[in-house]
C-alpha cells in the first residue's frame, strides 16, 4: 500500500511540493502565466512564432454574442468549444458532427443549439475559469486525428504531453482516453498514460489508474506497437514553446492532425506528475542534467541533446 520516501528518492520521483517550489516557483515567472492560462493568447502567440495550432473558427466574448454561434458554425463539420482560461480540461465541449439541428458529441449524445449556447454562456460567466472571472469562449475546428491512433483511443483525441524544461524536452507521454475516463484524457479519471521514448517516439510503458497495462482497455489493441510519426517535428515544436513563453518548466500538449501534422493544443505552466508513472521513471535525474547545461542553445540542438541522453528501450516488448 505504501512505499518509503527513500525508495521514491532513489527512483528520482518528484513530489508536488518539490515541483512547486524547486521548478515552477524558480523557473516560471508569474508574469508569464497569462500567456499559457489564456488559450486565446497562447494561440495568437503561437501563430506569431510559427507554431501550428488548430484552426480558430471564432471567439465569443459577450453574452450578446452567444446568439451568433449558430451562424458561426454553419459549414463546419465538427468543432470544439473551450474556455480561454479553463484548467484541467474543464468546460471543453467536443462536437464531432452536426446533423441538421442536432449537435453530436463523440459519445453519441445529442445536443441542441440551445445546449451549446448554454455551454458558451456558462463559459463567458466564468464557470470554468480560475477564480470564476469572466471568460472568453474559443471555437476551434475539430482535429482530424491520425487514423493510425484510432485503435488506441476511445472517443477522445489522444494527445501527447511533453515536459519541456529550460527548452529541453525531458519526458513525454501519450494520453489515451477510455470508456472509464468518459473520453477525457485525464489520467486520474481513468485515461491510459503511455510513456514515450524521447529518442524514437515509441511506447515504453502503459499505465491506467497507476497500474501497468499492455493494451488499451476498450479496443484491446496492444500498446507496444504505438509509434508517433513525425516525432522530431513534434519535439521541435514543443521545444520552441520555451522561446515563445519564456517559461522554464512547461507542459506542452500536442496532437497529431491527419493533414497538418503535429499541432500545439495548449500549454500548462503547472504540469502534473503522472508522467513519471507513465514512464516508470522519476524526472529528477533528467532535470538535474538539464540544469547543468548552459543557456542559449538553439531548439534543434536541445532536441538532439535530449534524444541522445534520454533514450529508453520499451518495457512493453520485453514483457510481451
Amino acid at each position: 500500500m505504501w512505499t518509503t520516501p527513500a525508495r521514491l528518492h532513489a527512483k528520482g520521483i518528484i513530489g508536488m511540493n518539490r515541483r512547486n517550489i524547486r521548478y515552477i516557483g524558480r523557473y516560471n515567472n508569474r508574469r508569464l502565466y497569462p500567456l499559457v492560462d489564456d488559450k486565446l493568447k497562447t494561440k495568437l502567440l503561437a501563430q506569431e512564432y510559427g507554431i501550428t495550432t488548430p484552426a480558430l473558427i471564432g471567439t465569443v466574448t459577450t453574452q450578446f454574442g452567444v446568439k451568433h454561434i449558430g451562424p458561426m458554425l454553419v459549414g463546419h463539420h465538427g468543432f470544439v468549444i473551450k474556455p480561454a482560461k479553463g484548467s484541467g480540461g474543464k468546460g471543453i465541449l467536443v462536437i464531432e458532427r452536426i446533423e441538421g439541428d442536432r449537435y453530436i458529441k463523440p459519445s453519441g449524445a445529442q445536443l441542441t443549439l440551445g445546449d451549446v449556447e448554454r455551454h458558451v454562456s456558462n463559459i463567458l460567466s466564468g464557470l470554468y475559469s480560475l477564480g470564476g472571472s469572466p471568460d472568453v469562449a474559443l471555437i476551434e475546428a475539430l482535429i482530424n486525428f491520425d487514423a493510425s491512433f484510432s485503435e488506441y483511443t476511445y472517443e477522445g483525441v489522444p494527445d501527447i504531453r511533453v515536459i519541456v524544461f529550460k527548452g529541453y524536452p525531458v519526458m513525454a507521454m501519450m494520453r489515451l482516453s477510455t470508456a472509464a475516463s468518459d473520453g477525457k484524457a485525464n489520467l486520474h479519471q481513468g485515461a491510459v498514460g503511455v510513456g514515450i521514448d524521447i529518442a524514437s517516439g515509441t511506447a515504453i510503458r502503459g499505465v491506467q489508474f497507476d497500474r501497468t497495462r499492455h493494451d488499451h482497455p476498450d479496443t484491446g489493441h496492444e500498446l507496444a506497437s504505438l509509434q508517433i510519426s513525425d516525432w522530431g517535428t513534434l519535439l521541435r515544436l514543443a521545444a520552441g514553446c520555451f522561446e515563445m513563453t519564456g517559461l522554464g518548466y512547461l507542459g506542452t500538449d500536442m496532437v497529431l492532425d491527419r493533414d497538418h501534422g503535429p499541432m500545439l493544443l495548449e500549454l500548462n505552466a503547472r504540469p502534473g506528475l503522472a508522467i513519471q508513472m507513465a514512464n516508470g521513471e522519476g524526472l529528477r535525474s533528467r532535470l538535474d542534467l538539464i540544469e547543468r547545461q548552459s543557456e542559449g542553445v538553439a531548439p534543434e540542438e536541445r532536441v538532439a541533446f535530449s534524444q541522445h541522453h534520454f533514450a529508453r528501450s520499451s518495457e512493453l516488448r520485453e514483457t510481451a
Binding site: G15, R18, K90, R118, S121, G132, M277
Partner: protein, 501 residues
C-alpha cells in the same frame, strides 16, 4: 540564490515568539495550562399565567450573588412586555408589565450562576420582629405551649429554632403541633411561632440545583437570625445549614411571584450545569502601560471574546497547511474547512457534521435542478445562497418543533461559503463524477474536523489567547512548511507502483 535571509527571518520569528511567551509567563504569571475548570449553572425560570384581558403586571424575585454562587449574566424573554429590575426590601425583583394581555402568557428569565466557593453572603439586617401576631382560640394556647416546650430545651435562637421545628416533624408531632398544622401551612407557621417567641425569622425560597432537571419548583426554608448572624433551617427536618446545591432565589421574605391581572400563575425552573475554564484567573491585574504588556486583555470584554476566535484562525490555517503540504489531502476551497470548523465550534461537532451534510446534500439536489434552468453563474450562485438560507430556516424550525434545540445552531454556518461549496461540488459532480465529490468533500470535512479539534482544544485556546508570541511561532512554522520540498504522505501511496519494478 541564498536562503540565508529566509532562515534568519524564521529564526527571528521563533526567538521573538518564544521570548515574548516566556516574558508573559514569568512577568505576568500567566500559567501555561488553562488550569482548573469552574462550574457554571444555567437556570431558566418560566412564569406561566392566564391573563384576563386587561393590563397585567408580574413581579418576580431574582437571585443575588450569595454564599457559594456568583451571578454572572441574566437574560429575559418576554415579547410584548415592559421590563424593569427593581431593588426593594433588600431583594432584587423583576417587574414585567403590559397594557393588554389575554390567554396563556409565558415569561422567561435565565441566569448564569458561577459556583464560587469563596463568594460570601452580603450583610443582611435582621428583619424587625413581628409584634402584630394574633392567634384565635384555641390556637393561642397551642402556640404558647409549643413555644414554651421548645424554649425550655434550648439555649439560644438557633437551638430554639431547631427544637421548635423538630417538634413539628412527623415522629415527634404532639397534639398541639397537629392542631396548629390543621389551620396553618408549615413554613409560615414556623416563622410566625419564632417571631412570637422573640426570635427574628422569615420564610425564604431556594432552588436545589441538579443537572438537567426541568419543571422544578422552589423549596421553602426558614432563615433565623441571632444578632448579626443568621442560619438556614429545613422546615421539614429541623436540620441547620445550607446544602451546597441550594441557591437562595428569594431571601427577603417576600412572595416569589406576584401577578396582577392574571390567574393560575405558576413558576417552573429548569437547569443545566457546565464547566468553563477559569479564564478570570488570567485577567491582567497589572495594567502597566508598557509596550511589552501588549495583551488582548487590555481590551474591553466584548472585543476580547471576538479576539479569542480570531486568534484561533491561524491554528485552523496551520492545520490546513499541514494536511495539504505534508499529507496531500484535497479540499474544496483552500480555507473553506477553517470556516466550517469555526461554525463547528458554535454548533458542537456532531450537530455541525449532521447540519453540514444535510445542507450540502439538499443543496446539491436543488442545485442540480437549477442547472436545467440555464442561468448565468452569478444569478445561479445567488439562487443557491437563497436556497441555503431556506434550507437552514426549515431545519431550524423543524428541529425546534421536535424539541432539538441543538438544531438551531445551524444558523452559525457561513451561508455564502456553503453556497459556493455546493456550486463547486455540483460542477465537480457533473465533470468528474460522484467519486471526486466524495474525495474532495470528504477531504474538506476531514480537514474541518481536525481543524475543529485543534481549535476547540482548551489548552490551545488558552495558549493562543494568552500568549500572542505564539502567533509568531506559528508564522515561523508556516514559513518552514512553505519551504518543504519532500514527499507528501499520500504520494508515498500514489507513486508506489513506480518503485515496484
Amino acid at each position: 540564490m541564498s536562503r540565508l535571509p529566509f532562515y534568519l527571518i524564521v529564526a527571528f520569528l521563533l526567538v521573538a515568539g518564544v521570548a515574548l511567551s516566556i516574558h508573559r509567563h514569568v512577568q505576568f504569571e500567566v500559567p501555561w495550562t488553562p488550569g482548573e475548570q469552574r462550574q457554571v449553572w444555567e437556570i431558566e425560570a418560566q412564569v406561566n399565567f392566564t391573563a384576563e384581558g386587561g393590563p397585567a403586571k408580574v413581579n418576580m424575585a431574582l437571585p443575588s450573588s450569595q454564599q457559594g454562587y456568583r451571578i454572572l449574566t441574566e437574560h429575559t424573554a418576554s415579547p410584548g412586555y415592559g421590563l424593569a429590575f427593581l431593588e426593594e426590601n433588600g431583594g432584587r425583583r423583576a417587574e414585567w408589565s403590559t397594557r393588554e394581555a389575554i390567554g396563556d402568557q409565558q415569561l422567561y428569565y435565565s441566569v448564569q450562576a458561577l459556583v464560587a466557593p469563596e463568594s460570601r453572603n452580603p450583610k443582611v439586617e435582621a428583619p424587625p420582629l413581628r409584634r402584630d401576631i394574633v392567634w384565635e382560640s384555641p390556637y393561642d394556647t397551642a402556640a404558647s405551649q409549643v413555644i414554651e416546650r421548645a424554649w425550655t430545651r434550648s439555649a439560644d435562637p438557633f437551638t430554639f429554632a431547631r427544637e421548635l421545628i423538630t417538634d413539628f416533624t412527623e415522629e415527634r408531632q404532639g397534639e398541639n403541633a397537629r392542631l396548629l398544622l390543621t389551620q396553618f401551612d408549615r413554613t409560615p407557621l414556623l416563622a410566625r411561632l419564632l417571631n412570637q417567641a422573640g426570635v427574628p425569622a422569615r420564610e425564604v425560597s431556594g432552588l436545589l440545583l441538579e443537572h438537567g432537571r426541568r419543571r422544578q419548583s422552589l423549596t421553602p426554608w426558614i432563615q433565623v437570625f441571632d444578632d448579626q448572624e443568621w442560619a438556614l433551617f429545613d422546615p421539614r427536618t429541623g436540620a441547620r445549614g445550607r446544602p451546597d446545591n441550594l441557591l437562595l432565589w428569594e431571601s427577603a421574605g417576600q412572595a416569589v411571584l406576584e401577578v396582577q391581572g392574571g390567574s393560575n400563575s405558576r413558576i417552573g425552573f429548569s437547569m443545566l450545569s457546565r464547566n468553563q475554564p477559569a479564564a478570570a484567573a488570567v485577567r491582567s491585574e497589572l495594567a502597566d502601560d508598557t509596550l511589552l504588556n501588549f495583551s488582548i486583555h487590555s481590551l474591553p470584554l466584548e472585543d476580547q471574546a471576538l479576539f479569542q476566535t480570531i486568534l484561533l484562525i491561524p491554528i485552523g490555517a496551520l492545520m490546513v497547511v499541514i494536511l495539504r503540504v505534508l499529507v496531500g489531502i484535497k479540499t474544496s476551497g483552500t480555507f473553506m474547512p477553517v470556516l466550517i470548523a469555526l461554525a463547528f465550534i458554535q454548533t458542537t461537532l456532531i450537530t455541525g457534521l449532521i447540519g453540514f451534510l444535510l445542507v450540502v446534500a439538499v443543496g446539491l439536489v436543488i442545485r442540480n435542478y437549477l442547472s436545467y434552468l440555464n442561468l448565468l453563474l452569478v444569478a445561479r450562485v445567488t439562487a443557491v445562497i437563497i436556497t441555503v438560507i431556506a434550507i437552514i430556516s426549515v431545519f431550524s424550525v423543524l428541529s425546534y418543533r421536535f424539541g432539538l434545540n441543538a438544531g438551531l445552531t445551524i444558523t452559525f454556518f457561513p451561508m455564502i461559503i456553503l453556497s459556493w461549496t455546493i456550486e463547486r461540488m455540483s460542477i465537480l459532480w457533473e465533470e468528474e463524477g460522484p467519486k471526486q465529490v466524495l474525495i474532495q468533500g470528504g477531504g474538506s470535512l476531514l480537514t474541518a474536523v481536525l481543524a475543529y479539534l485543534a481549535m476547540n482544544n482548551p489548552w490551545i485556546r488558552h495558549i493562543t489567547f494568552n500568549f500572542l508570541g505564539v502567533q509568531l511561532i506559528l508564522m515561523a512554522l508556516i514559513l518552514l512548511l512553505g519551504n518543504y520540498t519532500g514527499y507528501r504522505l499520500l504520494e508515498l501511496r500514489r507513486f508506489k507502483p513506480v518503485t515496484e519494478d
